[in-house]
């Protein structure tokens, strides 16, 4: 039994942290937040050059042939730095789906481009406000309908759509977003540094992938683990920020951090973070070893990551006092990102229900 990343993986993490500390400092995030596109093309290009988009793609398809564990350590650092890039959409979801469910032809076409960052992918699941079930139907290889929110839907080149096939079965379809019959618009959202779009298809040509409902569920499980690492990374940064500030700030002649109410608040934040981290690690181990309890472990990692990031980002604002409520301070960047990450691939109620179902079905 070993619940730690390898030395090499930890080295990748350190390198990622150093790189992002330099290249993705808060002003970069803030610029993306305040821009129209909400996406830092320069940063994305540098990330591509570091090979991060290629990590978990086989060498035969232009990738580095590393494992999901290397992705986990990268994810933690992307989360910590609040990187405004479509990494999760393209790498955890689109790339994985194409690796696993695309035809040989599609794989050999898309994987090298995804690895090289020439193509950005995403995943369109939500058909509108509050509709979890897929209702759009593919007819004669063409799909019409409207999906929102589609994460990074404005910048992505391709997207996977959840839709019904002619027989009414839910399956995954691949579409070229730069092709005919596609309209898209950025939506106002709680975290504009990771923009959401509405994508409307009007008889857009799509390609069926070899993935049904169960495959889709497995894809979401692996994404849940990777996103949990983004969440704990952000969580840690928000906690560190709060501690640093309250140590420096004085009230009543002593550091704010020396008041028991503040200390105990941080202790509770730390506990939530460490439980989430432990669950994420367990999920990573289950993912890397394709363990039978991966579905349960993934749901657990996601539930506690959502809980922890909300708590920590919210109480970090509180610990800052009034300054925490200003646009100028970075507190809200974490709070916004916590909301974003809690929303993508499904929110708490859905994942808690998955968790309890899987737990009660387990031996």
């Amino acid at each position: 039994m070993n619940f730690e990343f390898s030395e090499n993986q930890l080295l990748i993490r350190d390198q990622a942290r150093n790189f992002l500390t330099q290249e993705c400092a808060p002003p970069i995030v803030r610029a993306a937040l305040e821009s129209d596109s909400g996406y830092d093309r320069t940063l994305w290009q540098k990330i591509v050059e570091l090979g991060w988009t290629a990590i978990n793609i086989p060498e035969s398809a232009g990738g580095l042939g590393l494992s999901c564990l290397e992705l986990c350590v990268i994810a933690e650092e992307l989360g910590r730095s609040l990187a405004p890039v479509p990494f999760s959409s393209s790498v955890y979801l689109a790339t994985e789906a194409i690796k696993q469910f695309a035809s040989n032809e599609q794989r050999s076409y898309y994987l090298p481009k995804l690895a090289a960052g020439e193509v950005i992918g995403t995943w369109a699941h939500s058909e509108g406000l509050g509709t979890a079930a897929a209702t759009a139907q593919v007819m004669d290889g063409k799909l019409s309908g409207s999906w929102m929110p589609v994460p990074d839907g404005d910048t992505a080149d391709i997207a996977l759509f959840t839709a019904c096939d002619a027989a009414g079965e839910v399956r995954l379809f691949l579409a070229d977003l730069t092709g005919p019959g596609v309209a898209r618009a950025v939506l106002p959202s709680m975290d504009p540094s990771r923009p959401q779009a509405q994508v409307t298809l009007n008889e857009a040509p799509v390609h069926a992938m070899n993935a049904g409902a169960d495959d889709l569920s497995a894809l979401l499980d692996s994404a849940a683990v990777l996103l949990a690492f983004e969440q704990i990374g952000g969580c840690q940064a928000a906690l560190d920020m709060g501690i640093e500030y309250t140590k420096q700030r004085y009230a009543f002649g002593r550091p704010v951090a020396s008041f028991q109410a503040i200390k105990h608040k941080f202790a509770d934040m730390y506990v939530a973070l460490e439980l989430a981290r432990a669950n994420a690690y367990y999920g990573a181990c289950a993912l890397a070893n394709d363990a039978p309890d991966l579905p349960l472990a993934a749901a657990t990692a996601r539930v506690s990551a959502i809980d922890a990031y909300y708590l920590v980002s919210k109480e970090n604002i509180q610990a800052h006092g009034g300054m925490g409520f200003t646009w100028e301070f970075d507190c809200h960047l974490y709070y916004r990102r916590a909301q974003l990450l809690a929303g993508v691939i499904g929110t708490l109620p859905v994942w808690k229900e998955k968790l309890s179902t899987r737990l009660l079905e387990a031996a």
């Binding site: 709680m190 919210k314 925490g324 709070y335 974003l340 993508v344 929110t347 708490l348 109620p349």
Partner: protein, 407 residues
């Protein structure tokens, strides 16, 4: 114990209702109305002046200061009736609710007769200038200096979190007049003319993008000694009066998010199922309602106490503490219910949902404004429950010697 009005109040209620029906628009939803922009301010001022002319402003104030000379129970009746209408009082709450009582108590008679009727009729708008960048929860740690210049005073320094400063004609400002004595003893409270060159107002951009608050800078601002409220060095007593009034005022209007959540549960369907039939949602609804109803009933109990000649105590801090936390939790929970779409913040797509998204981003401020959760708990513990203070690191020190950290 009963819910009924006395004949006098019943008659007053009927007057209020008729007047509102004739002069205000019924509201159709429970959505929050913030104060935004100059147009909203002009509209609010016009509304308030109409209300004042009809004799419904400052119901409990003495007539000689522009009030109606009625009882707190009349105020309750007004509050209950006005809830069903679209009205805009927010710009005047701070002046009339917080500053007014302190002026009534500490100003000289001449100042009262000059300024209070104009406040009551919304001719003048007032703001409250206490918080500073280095003095939040520790309000008395403030550094804005007021120095004697002849018989008058000159102010230099900076205030923050001043609601409505941009609309204000006057302010009540807490200043340090003596840094060589202990921090609570060297403070003095003044009224201040905001329309003078020495006062500069700059808006603060909030984390939710809004701008309800301001920074206010004083560069040799001038204050006549006749505008002093209370004794030199006695400002803390006056400040406590303002803060207590603030908490009482807040506790009646503290957003809890509950009415909006109830509406949502009643109206929304998700995946073809009414939210109202989801057992988990019902369970949360019951928990929040029991708190919400408790706050409502607590407020009624406080008003009964006030009507019986008592004073509202620090219990008012409960409404602030519970309501602010509930407001944030409800907003977050609602957005989680919305699923992936919860992150979309577009009132054009769904106004009822956008409310909760706005509140996710605004609610952290509610937990901070007017005293943090932690300050509220301290007040309850020390002032209501009589628990001993913590050992004070700054006790007995001259203000100028208190450690302020590396910042």
């Amino acid at each position: 114990m009963d819910f009924k009005d006395t004949p006098e109040l019943a008659s007053f209620r009927s007057d209020v209702r008729s007047w509102l029906e004739a002069n205000a628009e019924r509201r159709t939803d429970k959505l929050h109305m913030g104060m935004e922009g100059d147009a909203a301010f002009q509209e609010a001022k016009a509304w308030y002046q109409k209300k004042a002319r009809a004799g419904f402003a400052c119901l409990t104030w003495p007539k000689e200061y522009g009030g109606a000379g009625l009882t707190p129970l009349h105020d309750v009746v007004w509050t209950q009736e006005v809830e069903h209408f679209k009205t805009r009082d927010a710009h005047f709450v701070i002046g009339i609710g917080n500053c007014g009582p302190a002026i009534m108590h500490f100003a000289k008679e001449e100042g009262k007769r000059e300024l209070l009727p104009r406040m009551a009729s919304a001719e003048d708008v007032w703001c409250q200038l206490f918080s500073e960048p280095g003095a939040g929860s520790d309000v008395a740690g403030l550094r804005t200096r007021a120095e004697r210049e002849g018989s008058d005073w000159t102010l230099n320094g900076q205030k923050i979190w001043t609601s409505g400063a941009q609309y204000s004609d006057y302010g009540v400002v807490l200043t340090r007049t003596d840094p060589t004595v202990s921090k609570y003893r060297g403070l003095t409270l003044f009224m201040l003319d905001m329309r003078q060159p020495g006062v500069e107002v700059r808006p603060i951009k909030q984390m939710d993008g809004g701008g309800h608050f301001n920074e206010v800078f004083f560069h040799d601002a001038h204050v006549p000694d006749s505008y002093r409220l209370g004794d030199v060095g006695g400002g803390w007593t006056g400040a406590l009066t303002v803060l207590m009034s603030e908490r009482l005022a807040i506790s009646g209007v503290q957003p809890t998010g509950f009415p909006q959540f109830l509406d949502l549960v009643k109206s929304l369907e998700l995946n073809g199922q009414p939210l109202a039939s989801d057992p988990i949602v019902r369970d949360r609804l019951a928990s929040w309602y029991s708190q919400y109803a408790g706050l409502q009933a607590l407020y009624k109990r406080m008003l009964t106490a006030v009507a019986n000649g008592g004073i509202a105590g620090a219990e008012a801090s409960m409404g602030k503490l519970v309501g602010a936390v509930m407001n944030q939790e409800i907003a977050n929970y609602s957005c989680q219910l919305f699923g992936p779409a919860g992150v979309i913040q577009d009132s054009a797509i769904s106004p009822e949902r956008a409310h909760f998204q706005e509140q996710v981003l605004f609610s952290p401020g509610v937990r901070l404004a007017g005293g943090t959760d932690e300050v509220m708990r301290n007040i309850l513990a020390e002032q209501v429950l009589g628990l001993p203070q913590e050992p004070r690191a700054d006790k007995g020190m001259a203000f100028q010697d208190i450690p302020t950290g590396p910042g």
